[in-house]
Symmetry: C2
Subunit: 555 residues, 2 copies
């Protein structure tokens, strides 16, 4: 390959899109640019009409995605000082599941004039949680019918995924449902816009659209949910090629070339997902290498050769991370957002002042104060279920717990206990994988929390794993760029691309034996609380939800 | 009686002493004055030498008590505009157990020149908690020997009481122990200073010195604790008359007359204790009338005709509140101090700002915000064990719990949950009394927390009791003044004095049926948690204490 060939990776996040220009030879990130979505997340009212949205809705405007192509890509090229004709391929990653209703030519339904005022005509962002009722019915029916695919998702289909959201459209706005000709992930729609052809990627098809062992859920199953839903897969989902990650979806169209300033005809890679695409960027795609993408929540991604049913996992998908292996996903619903909640709601003024004096933010101050403590010194144990528990209990109605409060308990004590709780939660996931025969041999970390030294050391000590940290600050976009390089033929597969272009700092945090021993004793206690308030024992958390006066429930 | 006769009641608190001049005829409070102790609570170092005290110590300087007589009494007379010769009697109440070593003439050992540098020569304030080891041994031995008095104290003698503290003196400074000729409660020592004669009162003898059925613990028991302790009762405690509350201990000496500006020879009542003396001031001394004195902690006081063993009570003493009945005491270790801890450690800046804007303190703001909530709205349950649980579990190693935390949980939610937890704790005590056959028929409240409307309404709703609030802001001093009136012969007994001089506002807060029903369901859940983390189930709280690294334990 020529020494100056480049690829572009674009990371479509929740609030913005980031384009990065990456050198094919070695993965050097030559320049990047960010474009904030003008409509951000539409949660309160529909901009078009001012109509108030019901609780738990979260929409987006697809025009914002196109604007990323129009602005961030040329800006990144400029920042990199790279001539457009050096670019041999382009790839993306996207939030998921973020499905949208479109016409058969790809036009979003919300751009069809008489439908612009209809909330259901817009993309439903991953954090649209208003289809829980539909998800409950899907799960109940799947269990009743013994659908074989249910176990591939830890026994539970999420309200965030394609089927629950589509069923909500059908039930709440059947006209929009009838008029939508395709129901497509943003991850695939953006590729359609780039190469002019509708495709589906193996990752979202598997994790979000229940595509297992070569098929989607059966027509009989769909009909049993709702007669009108029987043809959903056949009519609106299936049909176009279902492509492996890193394959070439097509070539850049003239129109997309005009948007981006890139040459018509370069390779466009198949769609991909933010967490999964990060694994090759962190060189964490071999069997047994678990990547934890730690931000507001944590997503755990791991390849293995074997297929197993891991209790409480989010999903296992053949080719879900790389085409040749089974890709496992697990998750912790709340991590960074629990720390943020704590700082916003439970830290007194003197800590804010002290942080200012030391030139730190409050997280920084609390981390410093917490870092010096011995294991067990604060005498607390927390359960990190402030937004429920995804893996391994799969129960979003669970809630957070603090045990051990004393009049001498200080904010940094609770802060540390909350960090430890999330670390215990990660250990619980790792042990569950190990017990299911999918051994976690190495632990990699990406995401914003990897910059917090206190958190990282606690995770190393609690899990007894050395932590390998991704070398890039722009993991998802870098991972996307690697797939672009593969799609363009610069590397034979993603393993080769990852080896050449990825970067990881190995063993940045190593477990301390004494602290790890001390944590074993605390983890044992955590597990007792976990099992008591989770699957068995005291169902007080559900009871507290039931006992809330209906009209004043706030979440 | 002459229409203008007065009595003086003096309340010796933890940080100050308050004298109140009270009209005998109707209990009108004519004037009062406060004197702050110059030495406050001696917890860190001995003022005499600067010697650092060990953890959990709390001493006082007896000179501060005399200064109250010298300053607060004349100031109160002046404030009342009452001539000294209108005063017919004086009485006191005191913190307890606050024992001190003295010579046979009443001289505190810390005033003996060569002992002023010895920490054990000073009074040990009620909250001196450094004699836990001794208390543990007393309890173990009492249980082993089947001492009949143990059941009178809910099965557990406190480290705060006279025997544990005296044993600590013996073991840690045998020389001071040998040279102390009397071991006496501050409650009795101050009476000695007023009337020149050593007496003991039935209240502290019963609740704090294990005086039951006419005797103290036996010489055999004491010898089994420590050979050198065998003569403790005979040599240093017993001897002087053990007087009923409201009896006349003696007459004011010329010396005390000079201190106070009061006429020599007026009646001095027997010593008394702050919580117990408040009951007649609140007209809460008939059987079945429970008084909750609610401040940093809560003390529950109730008379009954019957003797019963109530699990977890602090004590039952014949004549402990009034001479004619069995006086029961129970307690919650942490109440107001839990709310104070929360405000100091867990309320973010914007609440402090909002409080300032509204001209409230943070408690006031949180109470206002919490007050409007429906029962169960916040979805939380707390256990109020931040400084352990006195009644009914008698376990000071228990710790606080919060269940139900969500990312939407706000400070006022937790604040309300903590208030509710203390109310549930009170209900647990009431139910335990009821179950033991000592029926709680009415609930009276005194103490600083009665001014908080949100707290009071929650207590009414949780307990299904109307709350009767003491009419006086100076309950203990008023109660003491009543005993002075009885001792001076103005009333035949404390019942008559209470009826004439006490004041109570009845039914200030009434339970709301709907809210009470809703609380029943939450209380049921509280009880499950209570029993799980308390007597049985998960001993995680003790485990967390054991797992703390020893050298860094902070409390």
């Amino acid at each position: 390959m020529a020494r100056d060939e480049c690829v572009i990776g674009i990371d479509f996040g929740t609030l913005s899109g980031r384009a990065v220009v990456v050198r094919v030879r070695d993965g050097a990130e030559l320049g990047s640019a960010v474009h904030d979505y003008a409509h951000a997340v539409v949660e309160r009212e529909l901009p078009e009409t001012g109509e108030r949205l019901p609780p738990d809705w979260a929409l987006q405007d697809p025009g914002d995605y196109i604007d990323v192509l129009r602005t961030a890509v040329p800006d990144a090229l400029k920042a990199a000082g790279v001539a457009p004709d050096a670019v041999i391929g382009i790839a993306t990653d996207f939030t998921a599941s973020t499905p949208m209703p479109v016409l058969s030519d790809g036009t979003p339904l919300c751009r069809v004039e008489d439908l612009a005022a209809r909330p259901h005509a817009y993309p439903k962002l991953w954090k649209h949680h208003a289809a829980q009722r539909q998800a409950d019915r899907i799960n109940a029916l799947a269990e009743e019918r013994g659908e074989p695919w249910l176990a591939r998702y830890g026994g539970r289909i999420s309200s965030e995924w394609e089927f629950a959201k589509a069923l909500q459209v059908l039930e709440e706005d059947p006209d929009v449902y009838d008029r939508m000709e395709r129901w497509i992930e943003g991850a695939d729609w953006i590729i359609w816009q780039l190469c002019g052809e509708e495709t589906r990627n193996a990752c979202t098809a598997g994790y979000k659209a229940i595509f297992q062992d070569g098929r989607y859920p059966s027509e009989e199953f769909l009909a049993a949910l709702d007669e009108r839903f029987a043809g959903f897969v056949a009519d609106k989902v299936a049909g176009p090629p279902l492509l492996q990650l890193g394959s070439r979806a097509g070539s850049l169209t003239a129109r997309a070339g005009a948007w981006t300033g890139l040459p018509e005809g370069i390779a466009v890679a198949t769609g991909n997902v933010d967490a999964h695409v990060t694994a090759p960027a962190a060189q964490a795609i071999e069997p047994g290498q678990m990547l934890a993408v730690m931000g507001t929540s944590t997503c755990h991604i791991m390849n293995d050769e074997a297929l197993a049913e891991v209790p409480g996992m989010c999903g296992v998908v053949r080719g879900g991370i790389t085409p040749d292996l089974w890709g496992y996903e697990a998750g912790q619903s709340g991590v960074g957002d629990i720390f943020a909640w704590f700082v916003d709601n439970a830290v007194p003024p003197r800590y804010h002042e002290q942080a200012r004096e030391r030139g730190l933010d409050v997280h920084g101050l609390l981390s410093q104060l917490a870092e010096d403590q011995d294991v067990g010194e604060h005498g607390l144990i927390a359960l990190d279920w402030h937004s429920g528990n995804r893996s391994v209990l799969v129960d979003h109605e669970l809630t957070g717990v603090l045990v051990g409060l004393k009049l001498s308990t200080r904010p940094e004590d609770v802060y540390r206990a909350l960090i430890e709780a999330t670390a215990f939660g990660t250990r619980k996931i790792i042990e569950t994988f190990d017990d299911a025969g999918i051994a976690v041999r190495e632990l990699f970390v990406a995401g914003g929390l990897m910059r917090n030294r206190a958190i990282m050391q606690i995770y190393a000590d609690v899990t007894r794993h050395s932590l390998h940290l991704i070398g890039s600050e722009q993991g998802p976009a870098l991972g996307a760029a690697m797939h672009a390089a593969v799609a363009a033929g610069a590397y034979p597969d993603i393993h080769a691309a990852s080896e050449a272009m990825g970067s990881v700092r190995r063993d940045v945090y190593r477990p301390d034996e004494a602290r790890a021993d001390a944590y074993d004793a605390l983890y044992e206690r955590y597990s007792v609380l976990h099992d008591h308030f989770g699957p068995g024992g005291d169902d007080v958390m559900h009871a507290l939800r039931r006992l809330r006066p209906r009209e004043r429930v706030r979440d």
